[in-house]
Structure formats: structure tokens, C-alpha cells
């Protein structure tokens, strides 16, 4: 039995929960930050549905960053969430050509070397991959998710999923990618 950990603050406890894969941490964060986010969205031409969607997206991004080891705890989690919500909302406003409040600016400028068309094509292809994943089996889906989303190493994946070693994971990953490509091709042929 692992020893019980004591945390100096709530943020540390939440981050530990995320690293352990406890999704209740997201529920806790949602409860703690929903009023702040709701107030921000309401002040900036948003609706209740907008705030719910944005907050959940920000929480998912936080989860992704923490699980992949790319999260730097430089400020409070609520600060990170608020900044993430703000950025996503700004991009959505720009996309929908809604009025952008004058006190807000885009934190990220679009890539000049990447055209809008390229972006749209990539998004469509990614959407196709997303749908094709439902046709490759749960084990492949989980393996690819651990590799590309949670950015586990092959050894970590072997430990997590019970494979013999890292080489086995590499071989399995190659097979799953082939299966995914096959599913993509079938989807493309079906819908032209």
C-alpha cells in the first residue's frame, strides 16, 4: 500500500490526482472555477453553453499538459484555466466574427506560413482520424491514445497495458497504425 501523501495546498493535491489519472480532479476544478469563468464569458458576449464548453475544454487541456509532463506549475491552476479559457474564447470569437471587446487581444498570432486552407484540411483529416479510431478496437485505441495524447513512452505503455516489453509495444503500435489507416481509407471510400 502506497504511503498517504499530504499536500501543502489544494493545487498540489489536484495535480497529483491528475497524474494518477483521477478524473474527479477535473470535477473539483470545475466546481472551484465555474463562477469565475461564467462571469468572464457573460461579460464578453457569451452564453451559459459557451462557458460550460470552454471550461471543460480548458480542463481537458490542463489534463493533457499535466499527464504529458508539459505543464509548468508557475501560477495557480485557476490562473492557467482562466488564461486558457480566455484564449479559446478569443479564437472562437474571431472565427465567428463576433464583436471582440476592445480590452482583449489575441495572445497568439496565426502562423503566416500556414494558410487557412491548410488548417481546414488538417482539421478535416483529424476529424476523419477521430472517427476511424472507433473502428480499430479498444486495445489499439488505448495504445494510440497513451502514445499520442498522454505521450507515454513505450516502456510505460508496456507497464500500463501489460505487454512484455517496449519492443512489443512498438510492434503493436505499428499494427494499430496500419489498422487505423485502413479504417481511414474505408471511410474515405465510403463517403468519397
Amino acid at each position: 500500500m502506497s504511503p498517504r501523501l499530504f499536500f501543502l495546498n489544494e493545487d498540489a493535491r489536484i495535480l497529483d490526482m491528475i497524474r494518477r489519472g483521477d478524473e474527479q480532479a477535473l470535477v473539483t476544478l470545475h466546481e472551484a472555477n465555474r463562477k469565475m469563468v461564467a462571469a468572464f464569458i457573460a461579460r464578453n458576449n457569451g452564453t451559459h453553453d459557451d462557458y460550460e464548453d470552454l471550461l471543460q475544454e480548458a480542463l481537458v487541456i490542463l489534463w493533457e499538459r499535466v499527464r504529458s509532463g508539459r505543464y509548468e506549475h508557475a501560477a495557480k491552476i485557476s490562473t492557467f484555466l482562466f488564461a486558457t479559457v480566455r484564449n479559446i474564447w478569443m479564437r472562437r470569437l474571431a472565427k465567428a466574427k463576433r464583436e471582440i471587446p476592445s480590452d482583449m487581444t489575441l495572445d497568439e498570432s496565426p502562423d503566416p506560413e500556414h494558410s487557412v486552407l491548410d488548417t481546414m484540411i488538417e482539421e478535416e483529416e483529424a476529424l476523419a482520424v477521430q472517427k476511424a479510431l472507433d473502428h480499430i478496437g479498444e486495445q489499439c485505441k488505448k495504445l494510440l491514445t497513451l502514445f499520442y495524447w498522454e505521450e507515454y513512452s513505450t516502456q510505460e505503455i508496456a507497464n500500463q497495458m501489460g505487454f512484455a516489453n517496449a519492443d512489443t509495444v512498438k510492434s503493436k503500435k505499428y499494427q494499430c497504425k496500419k489498422a487505423l489507416e485502413k479504417a481511414l481509407k474505408q471511410t474515405a471510400e465510403r463517403y468519397g
Binding site: 481537458v60 487541456i61 499520442y148
Partner: protein, 371 residues
């Protein structure tokens, strides 16, 4: 991971994945990108891998968002359910509180006068010397103070309780002295209670619990008690209905014989309030049951057929205040005759009724002389 020797480095699937995920050292990335600048095959392979990774991430994010939405909805549902329970509990608590207060205040007709003892009051509002206190204990243990008029001090038996004619209270509209003398078929048997002496002893004990009662209690232990509450009973006055075998009837007959021995004429000439035997003076008063002190109401309610009476020693004798809704006229009231028929029993005879009382022997000794 060693760089492969193939023309297209992207043919190494693992290397390609590592490059797309940004896990390669900077130096190696630089070398690979030099090749990418001129190789369209590798460019396409990298782009395809990026799309794959992007698709997998979107899919995983979507599933996580879906699970998060489900958890939040479940939590909201549980919160709403708990809020409903809280409201229901609050309402139930409020009902219990209101009901409890209502019971204490006697709103619902039970627990009248409250559960807790109240200050005793005299017949005219002044604090009384004797106050029975604990209502539940009093109701259970407080037996009518006036018991069977026996020669000794017997315990009241159920037979006597069933046979004794209870005191009558009638409304002002319906009551006539004649009605008081008529037997009532619905006279209930007196509940069997504690023995007379025990009731009186308990009455004594209750007195000690009140400051004013303490004086009476000390008085009761000595021959001269200042005041005493007694529950009297009306005795059968109709000769035709008398059962001479009954002990109380015997006492009544003895009282009448005593009066006759004194002579009717002598009785009229003598001060009517004086005990024939002792010559002690009794002053009779009457009040309606509404004027009973609050502390006596529960006795009056629990023993409705008995007549609450306050005996109070004064400098000139003994004041007897009878709480009775059927008013005796003043002449009749002042014509009351008191006869001590036993060491602890007296009979008060009015023209239209006869009342029996059982009092402590030492109290009677103090007011009437030693028998």
C-alpha cells in the same frame, strides 16, 4: 535510437513518431529537417503522422469531455437531490418545533398549562402556600385528598371509589341545589389512587419545593399549618339512596346525629360556622373553578368530580374557600356546619350538599382541637 540508413528516415516508424512528438534532441532534429527540406516523401510522411496524432488527441479529448460532462451532470443531480432532502428536513424540523412549542403552550388541548411547573397562586391571585408541582407525577400519584370517610385512615379501595358519590360540577345555567342532591347515573368511579395518608404526605412533599410552600410544609410537620389544598367530595344526601353499609354513609349519619344531638334549634342559635364539637370558627367562601390557581387546574381537570378547596388558618379561625361552579347562595354558604367525624376527616354540611374532606390529623388538631 540510431538513425537508419534508409533514404527516407521517415520509414523508421518509431523515429517518425518521436520527431512528431518532439522527443528528439535538437541536434538530431536539425539533421532530419535538413533532409525534410528536400524530400517530399518524408514531408508527406511527417504530415500524415501529425494528422494521426492530432486525430488521436481530438478523440481522446472528446471522450474525456464526455466523461467529465457525465460526472458533472451526476454531481448536479445529487446536489439537487440533497437540496430537496435539506428542504424536506427543514420543513420537518420546523413542524416538530412548532408542535413542541404548541404542546408546551397547550395549543392542541393536551399538556395544558405547560409541562413545567408554574408559580402557584392563591385563590385571589396571591401566591399560595401549598403547590403541587410535577404534573405527571402529580397526576399519577396525586390521589384525591379527600378519601373515604373512614373511622381509621384506610387506603382508598376501589370499592369505595366506585360507590362514593362524586362531587358535582354543573354549569350555572343547569345547576340547582336539588340537582346536586340527585344521584347521577353517570358518576364515574373514582380512580384508585394512593392511600389517603400517602396522598397527603405527597402533598406535603410537594410543598417543600416552593418557597412559599416550604412554610406550609414546615407547618404541616407541626400542628399548625397555615394553608392546605384539599379535594373534597360530595356525599350522597338523598336518604333514599343511602347505603347504610357504606363507610362514608356511616360517617355522614354520624355527622347528622351529632347535629341532632346539639338540637336543631341550638344549631340555629349557635354561630353557624363553628364546629359543633370544638367550637372553632370556620369562614366559608366560594369561587368558581375559573379562579383556581393555575397550579390547581390540572388537578381539577384530572379529578373533575372532586371539589378543590383551600383551607387556610387565620387569626380568627379557618377560612375555607370552595371552588365550585354551582354557587351556593350566601345564606347557605354561611350556614355550613363542620363536623369532625374521624381523626382525619370532616364533613361540611350545607343545606343542599354535604362535602367530605380528608385532612391531615395534625392540621385538624390545629384548627379544631385535638380529637
Amino acid at each position: 535510437m540510431a538513425e537508419n540508413t534508409h533514404t527516407h528516415w521517415t520509414e523508421d516508424n518509431d523515429l517518425l513518431s518521436e520527431y512528431v512528438l518532439g522527443r528528439l534532441p535538437a541536434e538530431r532534429v536539425k539533421r532530419l529537417e535538413v533532409h525534410l527540406q528536400t524530400c517530399s516523401v518524408c514531408q508527406e510522411a511527417v504530415r500524415h503522422e501529425q494528422v494521426l496524432a492530432s486525430g488521436v488527441r481530438r478523440h481522446a479529448r472528446g471522450e474525456l469531455k464526455a466523461r467529465l460532462g457525465t460526472m458533472l451532470r451526476d454531481r448536479a443531480a445529487r446536489r439537487d437531490q440533497w437540496a430537496t432532502w435539506q428542504r424536506a428536513l427543514a420543513v420537518a424540523a420546523l413542524v416538530v418545533i412548532v408542535f413542541g412549542v404548541g404542546l408546551l403552550e397547550g395549543w392542541f388541548g393536551v399538556g395544558r398549562r405547560g409541562v413545567f411547573p408554574s408559580l402557584s397562586e392563591g385563590p385571589h391571585g396571591e401566591p399560595s402556600a401549598v403547590t403541587p408541582l410535577d404534573s405527571s407525577k402529580a397526576l399519577k400519584e396525586q390521589a384525591p385528598q379527600a378519601q373515604t370517610m373512614g373511622e381509621k385512615t384506610p387506603s382508598r379501595t376501589e370499592t369505595h371509589a366506585a360507590e362514593r358519590a362524586p362531587a358535582q360540577r354543573v354549569s350555572d345555567e343547569a345547576a340547582t341545589p336539588r340537582q346536586l342532591l340527585e344521584p347521577k347515573s353517570d358518576r364515574n368511579a373514582q380512580p384508585a389512587g394512593a392511600p389517603a395518608n400517602l396522598a397527603i404526605e405527597q402533598e406535603k412533599k410537594k410543598v417543600t419545593e416552593k418557597d412559599l410552600g416550604r412554610i406550609a410544609d414546615e407547618g404541616l410537620s407541626k400542628p399548625y399549618a397555615p394553608a392546605l389544598w384539599v379535594a373534597g367530595e360530595e356525599l350522597t344526601s338523598v336518604p333514599a339512596l343511602r347505603d347504610k353499609s357504606r363507610p362514608d354513609e356511616k360517617l355522614l349519619m354520624r355527622a347528622e346525629q351529632a347535629m341532632q344531638q346539639q338540637g336543631a334549634g341550638a344549631t340555629r342559635d349557635m354561630p353557624q360556622k363553628i364546629d359543633l364539637a370544638s367550637g372553632k370558627r370556620f369562614e366559608f367562601r366560594q369561587a368558581t373553578t375559573e379562579m383556581l390557581p393555575r397550579s390547581r387546574h390540572r388537578f381539577e381537570e384530572s379529578q373533575p368530580l372532586q371539589i378543590q378547596t383551600l383551607f387556610r388558618r387565620t387569626n380568627h379561625g379557618t377560612d375555607v374557600t370552595i371552588y365550585l361552579d354551582t354557587l351556593l347562595n350566601d345564606t347557605e354558604l354561611q350556614s355550613g356546619q363542620v363536623t369532625r367525624v374521624a381523626r382525619d376527616s370532616i364533613v361540611v354540611v350545607f343545606k343542599s350538599m354535604r362535602l367530605g374532606y380528608k385532612l391531615p390529623a395534625d392540621f385538624l388538631d390545629s384548627v379544631m382541637g385535638v380529637k
